[in-house]
Chain length 138, copies 2
């Protein structure tokens, strides 16, 4: 009997929990007519994904330019050797939350993966959350 | 003197080289009017990114539905502790390459991160390649 890596669906609530344990993920959005991706730091707070960026970034500019901008947010933890782990995908809408006191406080806890001041807080409200865990089956 | 993580730009050719060393990345594209992200296995061959998927996947469907579909492809290797590493971003166009003999041969070398047969080969032709390396500076 051969051992195989088996994909198992993760419930949305659990998937958001895994996302909350990860330090960073990647946001996809349309900018100047083309899809693009940016790595970002995030925290999950009360069902929302709070990300931190600079006002000059493409992502901040896209969010400022369109209220309720459609985005996808993805994070994974896949062991490069066993290739076991999980991947979570969220689609939702993004809005500037820099004036949101709670979001601003969360921002103080986050360290950028680049040592640059992060002056813009963006909240992503999930419309759909899906997750996949890769485990060993037979 | 404080040590800081410093972002250093990577030249496009070198960035594609780093991408070629990575086993998988993430593609962003617009599907049913919304941006989305999928993790994928890839190889870099002669300046093109060759990815492998199934004909039933959202990505395959989006590519079949639109010739020269605009996509972004991203991969990174960031150490979760030191937060040092690199990130590469490619924007380009995607096309079905399942009939491309060279691409098909490359596909045989690639192992899916899920044990499912990958019957569709897609080639991404880069229009723009950018990369960032995070090193220790002062």
């Amino acid at each position: 009997m051969e051992t195989k890596r088996v994909p198992v669906k993760i419930e949305p609530k659990l998937a958001l929990g895994l996302l909350g344990r990860a330090e960073f993920g990647r946001v996809a959005f349309v900018f100047n007519g083309s899809p693009t991706i940016r790595p970002l730091n995030h925290v999950v707070d009360d069902g929302r994904i709070i990300v931190f960026t600079r006002h000059t970034s493409a992502f901040a500019q896209a969010v400022m330019g369109e209220a309720g901008l459609r985005v996808a947010y993805q994070a994974d933890e896949i062991d490069p050797h066993s290739r076991l782990g999980w991947s979570v995908l969220v689609s939702g809408t993004a809005a500037n939350a820099s004036d949101d006191r709670r979001a601003e406080q969360l921002g103080k806890k986050v360290q950028s993966w680049i040592d640059r001041p992060l002056d813009t807080v963006i909240a992503i409200d999930p419309l759909e959350v899906s997750g996949l865990r890769l485990t060993i089956g037979s």
